[in-house]
Symmetry: C2
Subunit: 181 residues, 2 copies
DNA sequence: TATCACTATATCGGACCGATATATATCGAT
DNA sequence: ATCGATATATATCGGTCCGATATAGTGATA
């Protein structure tokens, strides 16, 4: 699912400018997807050329035109086709966890500080999301929101309960046999 | 943290070819990061030019040279500096959840099938990861692995316990006027 | 003997992001 | 009254990264 398709999808909720679509990405999809202007504006231009959206330019005195985009029947049809495709696998990237892969190159104090900060970050994101949850109207959005909160909570608990595994100094012995499975 | 830096990091564990680095990404970092050959090979070339890795070409009869890369002292220093930077925020993308944002455009049966498949996917990935967990030697890797398993488990449980929210038919009322804002 | 999976390299086109540029408007702080 | 921050609103450039594709030998399995 590319940004172009997602823009089309957001326009099924009503007409919008590129700027408003960017806000929609942040407000209702932040935990699931994000997109920058450098993807949104070209997408909108392409969708217009393809006839999947129409563009009404509101000229404003001494300001650049406000371009309001609406989805066309052809666009609606196209989007409907797209969301019936099997979704691609989730993608997750974490610089934090990548750094921890190399925790043997860091001082113990640094590892602890890293984990403390990450927990704080997760907590803050979870709180922001929780607050936003109440504002959402649709069931879909509530569901999405709840998913995000759950994941942050799980991450926080895991870090708290298992941080000792990489904070403790490595046992100086011949490596013990690990019980496989 | 870009792929180039991560390649440098993986070389702190020992010398490797580009192909082996790709395998390392899949075997020990899959749930945290991934990289394709189209990123790895150029990264290795650039690191060589920069003097952060050295390259020993093992010429093989009737096959392209096997290029074995090793990290240099300068590379080690550079990487150490890099992992002391504050890590960027996690990034998560889910076509599955994005699709669910538009579940009002799908038939209830399709939504259920989508969720069933996703749960199956998560279960499979979790099992693969669990199995791999036993094989890992270092505490860091055990920790990473456990993190992944925990997250998959949390996702599965959330989907199972909350799917009714979007599977249930929406209450039939006058449709409120919506906008993307 | 054919097919598959693995080792091993590399590039092209395209998707996407971060930084930057350009204006104006509004609102609170100094 | 002015200053800085934030918001509205557009758009592009350089660069990173991925998916698809190309090439080619080896060994195992069917």
């Amino acid at each position: 699912m590319d940004i172009r398709t997602l823009c089309l999808g957001l326009l099924t909720f009503g007409e919008a400018t590129g700027y408003e679509i960017k806000k929609a990405f942040q407000d209702r999809m932040s935990m699931v997807y994000d997109a920058s202007f450098s993807s949104i504006y070209p997408s909108l231009n392409r969708l217009t050329k393809e006839g999947l959206v129409s563009c009404r330019a509101e000229s404003q005195s001494r300001r650049p035109d406000r371009k309001v985009y609406s989805i066309t029947p052809a666009g609606r049809e196209e989007f409907l086709k797209e969301i019936h495709n099997a979704p691609a696998a989730d993608k997750f990237r974490s610089d934090f966890l990548a750094t921890l892969m190399f925790s043997h190159l860091l001082q113990p104090g640094n590892v602890s500080r890293l984990i403390d900060n990450q927990i704080m970050d997760y907590r803050q994101k979870k709180d922001e999301l929780s607050q936003g949850c109440g504002m959402k109207q649709s069931q879909s959005e509530q569901f999405l929101c709840g998913f995000g909160v759950t994941m942050y909570q799980a991450a926080i608990e895991y870090l708290e309960q298992n941080r000792h595994l990489i904070e403790a100094p490595a046992p100086v012995r011949a490596p013990a046999k690990q019980s496989v499975k």
